[in-house]
């Protein structure tokens, strides 16, 4: 059982940072709604407010790691140009997708959208973390600030979800492969 370095980085980028971000984002939305619902009269403790701020900061870090590993580690392998006369395009995912009408849309719509829209997630989550760190428990007194945080986090969830969906479909149609092999389980010799 083995995995290549490119496959490993693709997993770290998508299933690691991206997947964890989506999970964390859904948790943050539920927590923000639960904690600041108009029906709740008790103010949260200082510890609760600090926890939420740290949670959002960790979430923003995940979003930055997802977009940076995607743009600067995985994407260059995806968009690499195939040398003239290359018989098999398997190692050049973008070229492979564009070589057929049946798959070109995964690049022209899927990747073209994903590579840009994903960046809305770190921008929105960094803003949300900064506001929660700055205001702490005091955010209770600014209902419009809370509304804005929830709306931006919803859009960041949507953007990360779109990026994740297209990432999975792109990797299904033209996986990023190659690099050195990492043996996960030593081969059994008969």
């Amino acid at each position: 059982m083995e995995i290549t370095t490119r496959e490993l980085w693709t997993m770290i980028h998508g299933m690691g940072f991206g997947g964890l971000y989506l999970l964390a984002c859904s948790g943050a939305l539920v927590e923000l709604f639960r904690r600041y619902s108009p029906n709740i009269s008790e103010p949260g403790s200082e510890t609760d407010a600090r926890f939420l701020a740290l949670y959002l900061a960790a979430m923003a870090t995940l979003a930055w790691l997802a977009v940076l590993t995607g743009a600067y580690i995985v994407y260059p392998w995806y968009r690499a140009d195939a040398p003239a006369g290359t018989a098999s395009l398997a190692a050049f995912p973008q070229r492979l997708l564009l070589s057929s009408h049946a798959t070109s849309g995964w690049h022209t719509i899927g990747m073209e959208w994903k590579e840009h829209v994903a960046w809305l997630a770190p921008i929105s989550s960094t803003m949300a973390a900064a506001v929660c760190i700055r205001y702490g428990r005091g955010i209770r007194h600014h209902p419009r600030l809370r509304t804005a945080l929830v709306c931006f986090l919803l859009i960041s969830f949507l953007a990360a979800g779109l990026a994740g969906l297209f990432g999975a479909m792109l990797n299904k149609n033209a996986p990023v492969e190659g690099g050195s092999s990492i043996h996960l389980v030593p081969e059994a010799h008969p």
Partner: protein
């Protein structure tokens, strides 16, 4: 806009909404800048080449770096101007949401092809 630091019913000082509004509006502007730069880099060969900050990543490197720079710059300026003020947050939120919505639309390739 008013300079203020009012007290809450619990007795502790309430921060003005200016710093929060600055972060929200800057995030809207940064997101919009990303969508706008993605379109202009796609439509102009000169700009596509100009945004090629890191060759293996191509113009995406310049588009995202420039948008992030614009976002952080706007945030710094707005924070500096609004740090001790209460601003009309409904208006700020509306502008930020419109910019965020436009950024979603501008990054969608089929929409970008209309330009």
């Amino acid at each position: 806009m008013s300079k203020s630091k009012t007290s809450s019913p619990a007795g502790f000082a309430v921060l003005p909404n200016g710093p929060g509004a600055a972060a929200i509006l800057a995030a809207g502007i940064g997101s919009f800048a990303l969508g706008l730069l993605a379109i202009v880099a796609d439509k102009s060969a000169f700009l596509k080449n100009l945004f090629n900050f890191y060759k293996p990543t191509g113009p995406l490197s310049g588009v995202t770096t420039s948008a992030i720079f614009a976002w952080l710059l706007c945030w710094s300026i707005l924070e500096w101007r609004w740090r001790r003020k209460n601003v009309p947050l409904l208006r700020v939120n509306t502008v930020a949401f419109v910019l965020l919505g436009l950024s979603l639309l501008l990054t969608f390739p089929t929409f970008a092809d209309f330009f």
